[in-house]
Symmetry: C2
Subunit: 377 residues, 2 copies
């Protein structure tokens, strides 16, 4: 299975796999797809540097990408202390009360994991991610793609990427965003439908993918995101004019996914994902301040209940709930997780190694293609 875009990147399949886990990302690249490492969890550039070094050592020289979060509208910079002062005490009280109600214990070590996944949302930190990635690609030439999850990256970031032979992709949930990306110099648009995990717009993949394909024409290829977890959905993506698929949620139940793991067997988050159906997600502003699709749990229910406060704008909301997320992830209760996930979670029903996932996707793709061909006999 190939498209112009997979040929361009020199990968076997046009399967782009976004994941915060280097083990999963490396396995995707090794299996013939394009692993894309999510960087938002790295507060320190050195940490990312080490992980990219590990990626280099574990990908047999195959290409991979990185995903940064660089909002189009630059959020307030400043120290955590400055930002902290902008969070209303009522919001803090609600979070504390909710965690107590849900039986989530305090952090055992007095809070030194508080910042986890928080600072990556800041522009300056995202820039340091880009710098590290560029340094790596000059060294090894493996990083072929930098994707931005929120808006177009700044002009100089795009220029630097191009100078290093790196393609730039950006997520879009509406035609206007896609056009503005391409006008800014973005090479590839990732069209993420309403059903996707994390930040999404209101327009679903079935509508959005061909709309962006038509709007962009020859200016940029479209990767189909939101709702892909089978070879049939990959065939739908190609039918709708995309040049490949961008999958996120689906890899969370990969055997290699080790974030949040506490021992043998599926982690708490994986248990929650395995149990969820396609109806067990909600799209809310409670994760980052912008609408993002999350697994529906007692945590999201609490924010939906009468008397819950309105979420704060980005990046304050993520700062507000950063410690809560850390506490929840240590609490080991599958009923109380805080996790972005798309509606495709209904298809995440077993823990499978990445290589098997990809061979399954590709063979199902062929069967779907054959089914279409048969309608024309």
């Amino acid at each position: 299975m190939k498209t112009d875009l997979s040929e361009k990147f020199g990968v076997e399949y046009p399967i782009f796999g976004f994941t915060p886990s280097q083990h999963v990302a490396a396995a995707i690249s090794r299996a013939g797809g394009m692993g894309v490492l999510g960087c938002v969890r790295f507060n320190e550039a050195e940490e990312l540097d080490e992980v990219l070094e590990w990626m280099h050592e574990n990908t047999d020289g195959k290409p991979f990408g990185v995903d940064v979060v660089m909002p189009a509208k630059i959020p307030t910079e400043g120290s955590k202390l400055d930002l902290d002062s902008m969070i209303p005490p009522e919001h803090r009280a609600f979070v504390e009360r909710t965690l107590d109600d849900l039986g989530v214990p305090p952090l055992p070590d007095g809070g030194d994991r508080v910042n986890t996944g928080v600072l990556g949302w800041l522009h300056s930190v995202a820039r340091s991610h880009v710098d590290v990635a560029m340094e790596h690609t000059r060294r090894y030439g493996q990083i072929k793609l930098i994707a931005n999850a929120l808006g177009s990256p700044p002009e100089d970031v795009i220029q630097t990427a191009h100078q290093n032979g790196v393609q730039v992709a950006a997520l879009a949930g509406a035609k206007e965003h896609a056009l503005s990306h391409v006008n800014a110099g973005v090479d590839i648009v990732i069209a993420q439908g309403y059903e996707g995990g994390g930040h999404t717009g209101e327009v679903t993949s079935m509508i959005l993918w061909p709309e962006l394909v038509d709007a962009l024409g020859d200016r940029a290829p479209v990767l189909a995101a939101g709702g892909v977890g089978s070879g049939r959905q990959m065939a739908a993506a190609i039918a709708l004019g995309a040049q490949g698929v961008w999958m996120g949620t689906y890899w969370l139940t990969a055997a290699e996914y080790d974030l949040g793991a506490t021992g043998d067997g599926p982690s708490t988050v994986q248990q929650a994902l395995l149990a969820a159906t396609s109806r067990d997600t909600v799209r809310r502003r409670i994760y980052s301040g912008k609408p993002a699709r999350l697994l529906k749990t007692k945590w999201t229910d609490a924010w939906d209940a009468a008397g819950a406060p309105e979420p704060l704008p980005m990046p304050l909301q993520n700062l507000l709930v950063g410690e809560a997320h850390a506490r929840i992830s240590l609490a080991d209760d599958p009923g109380v997780v805080a996790m972005p996930a798309g509606q495709i979670v209904g298809r995440c029903n077993e823990i499978v190694p990445v290589e098997e996932m990809i061979s399954g996707l590709v063979s199902e793709y062929s069967r779907a293609a054959a089914r279409i061909a048969a309608t024309l006999d």
Copy 2:
């Protein structure tokens, strides 16, 4: 283009076109698809009888279907007067005030169009639709499909349909509903995703279609609904395992669509549809009491504004707004229409005859099939 289901019905293409307009339904059947006439607007059995007679005379003997609204949970029966007394005066006052604010004039003739489209929601009226359709199929044998828009039809309706060689279809927005339909004896499940016009669930077409295909297996074929308005989306439907497509919104801008027409050129509703993008719909309970996707207009905005009442349960909400809908449709203001429409409305950009629409769909389908085949070269 053919599937087992199109062969079974003896139609050229597995394109099922739902429309309240007999002119559009007949044109779809004449062009090789399966026109399905929406019956909810017929308050009187005699009216439907005449229209079906017209359909017979204008379809060259080709098969067509009817669509009734027979809720699974039978709404309160009773005269309009009984039901009227259940509507809170505050709700009536809100509707009156809103229509005044929006500059919608009162009905010119003192209100004899008040019932338009209201009683079709009642079980007894839907049953009379079924009786008339069965009588017709015994006479001419053309009605091959009866579809139910809300839940499984009652057992005896399914039996009567089968005795008359008529297949029974029912809409489903979730796996549980699909399984309950098939257990009740329904032959075909119409899987309608979140993006569809009218009543929908939360799960999008990309996720729902293959989920229902897998859940039903060999027990019943799936028609893909919600988001179909191009040959690419038809190819996606087949790729995802559906046996055909069920389209509604797309036909509203057919040249033959004459409901609400007041003269030459596009009607007020069509003007609103032509101008709308894929982001100009909302899913609300204000039309019928159950969540239904509607064109976003000043009318839906008013119900979203602070101080607006909660919509009433079915069938009261439709009774409440029945006169408002009639007033709005006479007011001829494209900014104030009350119209179910799916996100595919963004692709309804010109007034085209049905025959041209269908040939366009089919040729684009072939190109999408070729694009998929090329990925396997």
